[in-house]
Point group: C2
Chain length 193, copies 2
């Protein structure tokens, strides 16, 4: 049983939450200290009582964003399994949905940032690598027993690439066509339960 959070800890979480949203909406470079603090209902001066630097905030924000969506995806897998339905279908249809196309700020952090990830500082890159591994592991968990990690990697890459291209094409018929193409291709090929 964990002790109740202090006032300070509650505030800290509120800041990280705001940063996790800003990070996915605006990218690494689009996370400003003053903006995030304002979103959290504070003034910017108090920032360094919570974080050593902007980079330290970004590291926590990546982790938070990844964990949040990971939890949702894993619940989706559990639920579909419990109902005797295809877990892979649940993942593919959830990931390549209209809601995820438009909901960047609450969606997968890998899709929101992957082309920027290789350019970050070593500390941030390490967090990014961890998120990529977790994404692959999540996909593998959705595959039937005995599926290879290689299959999970390809599917994860297709999910990420598809969502990014669809977001660039826009929340319109073009973007939707992109999502639909990968949904049906992935399910046709891998959903053999």
């Amino acid at each position: 049983m964990t002790s109740p959070p202090t006032r300070r800890e509650v505030t800290h979480e509120r800041i990280v939450d705001a940063a996790a949203r800003a990070l996915r909406r605006n990218g690494y470079a689009g996370v400003g200290v003053a903006d995030v603090m304002k979103q959290a209902g504070l003034t910017h001066g108090g920032f360094y009582a919570h974080f050593e630097s902007r980079d330290a905030l970004l590291a926590e924000a990546v982790e938070r964003a990844g964990r949040d969506t990971g939890v949702v995806m894993n619940q989706r897998i559990e639920t579909s399994r419990a109902r005797g339905e295809s877990a892979l279908r649940a993942v593919v249809e959830g990931y390549l949905s209209d809601a995820h196309l438009s909901g960047t700020e609450s969606g997968c952090v890998v899709a929101a940032l992957s082309s920027e990830m290789p350019r970050q500082s070593p500390a941030l890159l390490a967090r990014a690598v961890e998120r990529v591994r977790k994404l692959v592991a999540m996909v593998q968990r959705a595959l039937p027993e005995g599926a290879s990690k290689e299959q999970a990697m390809v599917i994860a890459a297709t999910l990420v690439g598809t969502l990014q291209l669809a977001r660039t094409l826009g929340a319109n018929s073009q973007g939707n066509a992109m999502l639909a193409a990968s949904r049906s291709a992935l399910l046709a090929q891998y959903d053999t339960e």
Copy 2:
């Protein structure tokens, strides 16, 4: 027959070239006016005699980067066709190669920027959309006659997603495993010539 380029035009191209490399290496936000001018062997003061704004430079740089790699890919398709080999194999093996993994600054601009594309100004987004369409068209050209655009979209998305995740994992066994997984999956499924 086009007239020979003026001194001014030669310089302009040199600046755009430098920007096209910086853009892929550092992302949109990582292209600085002073840096690019320095790379082109000039001082920053002359910049606005060539471009209306930094955004105008970025627009030209996206187009330049896309066209350059597009030419290379299309040549690869022609060459393999002329030899009676699989054009799709040439594209997949070229795109998902060690050289492309490490050569971000001279590689595909979509892979280098796609997670940042949806966040750009309308003018830059329009250029990005064009590059995505051209990428899909290039893949479709590599597919056998009669292949659907949907197939080309899925393959393009897989190429982009795979390269990005591999770059994040790094130029090591993990990144290579990512590339290899998608190479063999794509060829096994679509290379049926």
